[in-house]
Structure formats: structure tokens, C-alpha cells
Symmetry: C2
Subunit: 187 residues, 2 copies
DNA sequence: CTTAATATTAGCATCAGGTACTAAACACTA
DNA sequence: TAGTGTTTAGTACCTGATGCTAATATTAAG
């Protein structure tokens, strides 16, 4: 009867892209959206191999909780002013205007990332490391002229994985924090 | 009786730090770890205002699903070879050895990030943008000498939010992908 | 030692968001 | 009109909880 009633295949295709964009939708909500019964949605998910809501949420959470980025060892960005190997370290960086966007004077994000990353690596004794990053957070934009103070702390060693917490402050304000997971590898 | 039986406060402190490090633990598992009943764990959570497992998972998922990074508008990194404003764009970048670590010849991660980010911004017509990043993934290390091809596609506009999907390939291999959320702001 | 306060455990009903299964009602088409 | 695919309905069960009441331990104080 319904004008918008579509074929099974069309519905399933739309279901796939819907859940790809917006994975946190219950079967009930989906049954409203597609104007079919919950059972139909469940059958569709079964056929398409789409897990239930809770599994979908879990996947997103897990995937992003330990995000692995491949990098080699960096020379340190900023000035190393204190270092206790396998414990902690502090570096400072004068945010000159050549690190910023011309118009807005906002420091480019990757410089902050690099500063944190290179300090994290410096704290670890191992030569080469593969890094994973979790809970990365840029909090407020940094402007040219400000002085960045990064503090890194080795919080855990698990096998060949080193967990390093890095916080970057400008004055008293935290502008960045992130947990780095560094994995020492043999050359 | 138990030697390791500690005071309520100690347990609650440990509970907090435990869940901070490892949020995906059920009450049942916690009751095993701390050697108290499930009910005690629940009371502890209640007193400490810690939400249930599913809520904790959800929080992690949501937080990382839309991770907002503050940046200004970047000049493009790489060479822009095709651009359809508000649709898509392609850029290439010769990964010269000055973008890589000396020893390993692996291209530094933030250059890849910058390439993707700047292309994403180029696709959007608005002058200045605040970016969020979701689902960022570095897949394989890129070596000096390789040619990076970045393809960006505007997938959705929601109010003043622009969703741009960027994929970077080397030959046929995908080395990076990420969803950028660009928010146009007034100056 | 006894009492009172605090902490812990137990048990049960209830909930959300499902799985897994069976059976029945439609719809199409040959 | 029979046969097939599609959709719907209903039930029992599952996990990881909440919210509640009641009972029992443990600890501290008089």
C-alpha cells in the first residue's frame, strides 16, 4: 500500500549505508525508518551479516580505543629540557608564526601532534618504535607566540608495549593530551 | 579472612583507576578481581557515579566517533591535480626522503595526515574551517620515493558541517583513510 | 562484652536489546 | 491454483544491568 514501500534489495542496501553512517540505531528505530516489522530488520541483519547494536557500538569503541599509526623514530620536536629514560620527560616549544596558518595564527595541529609523539618516543629507550595512539584529544587552538610545555610519562610496560601519557599545556591550560602506545621492534 | 582484603576506600580508588585504564569490564569480572560480590561492585559504582558497562562502551565509541581537532585552514600539501568544489578532489605527493625518518625511510605520519587534511579542506568552499576527525586509520607505512595519491570526497553536508572522506593510496594499496568533519566558521 | 553503625551479600522483579526458533499470513508469478 | 519468497507474529531465552528489600558480617565505640 505504502508509496515508499521498496523491494527487499533496496531496503537492504539502504540499511547497509544507514548503519555505516550511523551505527548506533536500534532495530526498533530501524523498523520505524523502513516501515517494516522488527523481525524483518532482524532477518535483514542476519542475511547481511550485520551484528546487533551492542556489538556495533563495541566495535567502534574498540577500534578507536587503540588506533595504530605507523611511524619511525622521530628527531625531537621542541627543546628537551628534562628526561628520565623510561620514566618521564619535558619539552618546550615556542610556537613561532611559521608553524601557524597565516590568516588565523592558529598553530597547525600536526605540529602539536609531532611534539607529543617525539617526546613520547624520546622517553623510551628502544631505538625504533611503532606507535599506536589512543584517546588523543586536541582541546583548544594554540596561537602563534605561545609557549607549549609537553610532559610525557611512561605509565605502563606490557611486554614490548610502552604506554606513554603526554599532556601539552599553554600556561595553565591543557591544549592536548594523548596516550601513546610505543612498540619496540627489532631492526 | 583474605589477606588482600582492603578497605572500601582503597577498593573504590582501585576500581576508578582500573576502569579508567580498562573500561570494558563487566561487574561480574570486577567482582572476581576485587573478591567481593557483584552487589558490592554495583554499590561502589553507584557511590562513585560510574555508569554501567554498556554506557561506558557507548561513551568511548561516541567520543572517538567524532573527535574534534582544532585547526585553521591549511595551504595544500601535495599537488592538486583535480578539484570539483563541494564534490571531490585529487592530490599527489612525491614522498621525498626529507619527509621520512633517516634510518627507516618511513614517511612521518603527520605528513600523510596533513596531506589528507589539506585536501579535505580544499574541497570545501568555505574559507576557514574547524576540523573533526573520525575513523582515522594509517594502514601501512609509506617509504621515501613512493607516490601518494589522495582522493577526497564530500559525502554529506549537515548544517555547517561538511563530511569529507579521504583515502590515500600508494599504487593500489590504501595507506590511509579518514573521515574529516569540517565546520565552517565566521571570521 | 555488647551495642550501634557501617559494609557486604543475597534474592528477586524488571528492563533493553537483542538471539533463535516456529508458525502463520501475504504477495507474486507461472 | 499451487508453489515460492517475503514479511509478520509470538514465544522462550540471554546478558548485563537497575532498583529494591532483607539479612548477615565487620568494625568501632561505649
Amino acid at each position: 500500500m505504502s508509496i515508499s514501500k521498496k523491494s527487499k534489495k533496496m531496503r537492504q542496501n539502504e540499511l547497509l549505508s544507514k548503519l555505516d553512517i550511523e551505527p548506533f540505531v536500534t532495530d526498533e528505530e530501524l523498523s520505524d525508518i523502513f516501515e517494516v516489522s522488527i523481525q524483518t530488520i532482524r532477518l535483514d541483519r542476519l542475511e547481511l551479516g550485520i551484528p546487533e547494536l551492542r556489538e556495533r557500538i563495541k566495535k567502534v569503541a574498540e577500534k578507536n580505543y587503540l588506533k595504530v599509526i605507523n611511524l619511525g623514530k622521530a628527531e625531537i620536536i621542541g627543546e628537551l629540557i628534562d628526561l628520565n629514560l623510561n620514566e618521564n620527560g619535558i619539552s618546550i616549544l615556542e610556537a613561532t608564526k611559521d608553524l601557524a596558518f597565516e590568516k588565523t595564527k592558529i598553530i597547525k595541529g600536526h605540529h602539536i601532534f609531532s611534539m607529543a609523539e617525539s617526546l613520547a618516543m624520546a622517553v623510551i629507550s628502544s631505538k625504533v618504535a611503532l606507535t599506536g595512539v589512543a584517546n588523543m584529544k586536541y582541546r583548544i587552538p594554540v596561537l602563534a607566540g605561545e609557549k607549549l610545555i609537553a610532559k610525557a610519562e611512561l605509565t605502563k610496560i606490557k611486554g614490548n608495549e610502552f604506554y606513554v601519557h603526554v599532556k601539552i599545556n599553554v600556561k595553565q591550560e591543557q591544549v592536548f593530551r594523548g596516550k601513546f602506545i610505543l612498540v619496540s621492534i627489532e631492526e
